[in-house]
Symmetry: C2
Subunit: 353 residues, 2 copies
């Protein structure tokens, strides 16, 4: 080892789902939206002026912040934006979890939480989900340096209802509590209505799933202006201009076509519920996902084997080789056609039982 | 103060130069390129497909990494990319300066260095530039946790020649040394040729200045594959997808039009040298800048007053109210027309002396 390696921060990075470059693949592994953004986007792209690229973007991301604030009926001072919700969450961990007490998040949850905690040297504890993979609010009553959980949770897809969220918040007034709502638009209760009541509550959202804009990298957080100010201070201590011109220009227009948005949500939810019925017929066991993915296992076939067989057939789903969930597959809800192909494959695989 | 504020990381953020939204302003305050990117970019924008935005970008940013590696004759494993060189440098501070020994950078330099050090809790010392604002290599002989300096330095504009850079590197084999070459294309020696000799040397560049793409947010680092691997591990522990699709798509094509690039460089350098002559006639004192900005003071007029008078006339330059440099203005080299207007104003301001 070289001597200079002594000074290096060594980490175990998060592994994102594969982005196969091959054409013709059915991609159900990273929870992307099967439907493109509103057709209006083609015109927006045409209207972008390449000459403007010589100038720095607005460091305050004003156009995007204002559009998000307007959509949710908030003040711009209540909105923070970042390069996807991962950037927002990374900044939030760095800003709000600056304590020697452990932060709390579920043992089975978004697998980036422990990576950020390790990166920034934040101590943490992971209360175990109940056997049915639901969060027990009372596990979050103990003293801590902060709380973070996704709602619905990932990769389980299970949602907490508002009274349970509020129960957790009531027991956590002295630290920052983050509710990560990456998937909330697909049918769960939002904690957004609570940000006026809890000044320590940060609600995080993304354009990557329900808004069909994973390629643009836009995420945001909502909370009281003091939380947002602290978050912006850290952001401005890291990178003045995180949002590039295309993400500001396109992102600030992304919430305009509400009818199209609701229509794609409806289609995905319908396909999800149809797929649950079909998986049930094939003997799969799964959670009651309120997201755009399914979390399923089959009592007779190891998940890893199904995963590999699907991959051979150019159908990509996600498999996590981790305690408690290595029997499960996480399957993004694709278009009806993609899910037809998936179910056809699984019918064949399970011999039509 | 709320109790939850105890757990918050409190920082003094970097303040970026103003991005006035007003039209008709002469903007010489953030070292943007006065010339737009190659006319080819208009067609590239037209060719972007909005439907693709539903998919995550390639987390390895392969197309961009390959284009940069090809341009510089390197392996892709020697290149790291980020959201502007600020993102690259922030990640590099977090990765490489993980030591209890102080890192070293000049007292007068890019004012983000101490902000990153404070954010990440990195101890630092700032050897003073000599009276003429040049770096003394022997100040970097002492034991340290890392070394970072811009070449040319900012906001002084003064460049170190290759033997002096090598002198610093020779005395720093046991830590990572970063040479921040944001402005190198405007006429300084690059340390790039040394990355094969010094496996602890990281050279950082940006598309924001010479490449006319500040609005796209693309920066990069070059070094030996082990350095780049450590940097990517931290990046993948922070945000899997930092580079959005537009920055990958446009960025990977940004180095194709070499003739146009050389032509804009030539124009900026010519305008810079012309402006030096004109400033001299007006009694200004300035460094021999090798960048796309001038660093100048006038013995008879306080810099802050000139700054404010220029601002009144809608000519934005940069003023830093800091020790040793509060007598100076940093003036971006704009187009010949913009610099004509600046010089006309200053002629009038200094009564044509």
């Amino acid at each position: 080892m070289r001597k200079w390696e002594n000074n290096i921060r060594k980490v175990m990075p998060y592994t994102p789902g594969e982005q196969p470059q091959k054409a013709g693949v059915i991609k159900l592994n990273t929870n992307e939206n099967p439907y493109p953004p509103s057709p209006r986007f083609a015109r927006l792209l045409e209207e972008m002026q390449s000459g403007d690229l010589r100038l720095y973007p607005d460091p305050d991301a004003g156009s995007l912040v204002n559009a998000i604030a307007d959509y949710h009926g908030l003040l711009p001072e209540q909105v923070f934006v970042g390069v996807g919700s991962d950037d927002v969450l990374a900044m939030a961990f760095l800003t709000f979890f600056h304590s020697s007490k452990p932060i709390l998040f579920p043992d089975v949850t978004y697998s980036f939480y422990d990576v950020w905690a390790d990166l920034f040297g934040i101590p943490y504890e992971r209360p175990a989900l109940k056997a049915d993979f639901t969060i027990a609010p009372e596990d979050y009553y103990r003293e801590n340096g902060g709380v973070v959980f996704p709602n619905p949770n990932a990769p389980t897809g299970i949602a907490l209802e508002l009274p349970a969220i509020q129960d957790i918040l009531e027991h956590n007034r002295d630290c920052v509590a983050i509710v990560d709502e990456a998937y909330v638009d697909f049918g769960a209760d939002s904690a957004l209505a609570l940000i006026d009541r809890y000044d320590n509550l940060l609600v995080v959202r993304t354009f990557s799933k329900s808004r069909s804009l994973a390629g643009l990298r836009v995420g945001y957080a909502m909370g009281n202006p003091l939380l947002i100010k602290y978050l912006n201070d850290v952001k401005f201590s890291f990178n003045s201009y995180t949002m590039n011109q295309p993400s500001l220009y396109l992102g600030s227009r992304a919430m305009e076509d509400e009818a199209y948005f609701q229509e794609t949500l409806r289609k995905i939810v319908n396909t999800r519920e149809w797929a649950k019925e079909e998986l049930k017929k094939l003997g799969f066991i799964f959670t009651d996902s309120k997201t755009n993915f399914l979390f399923a296992r089959h009592p007779d076939y190891p998940a890893r084997e199904i995963f590999e067989a699907l991959r051979e057939a150019d159908i990509f789903v996600r498999y996590f080789d981790k305690d408690r969930i290595r029997d499960y597959l996480r399957i993004t809800v694709g278009s009806q056609e993609e899910m037809d192909a998936l179910i056809r494959f699984l019918k064949n695989y399970t011999h039509g039982r």
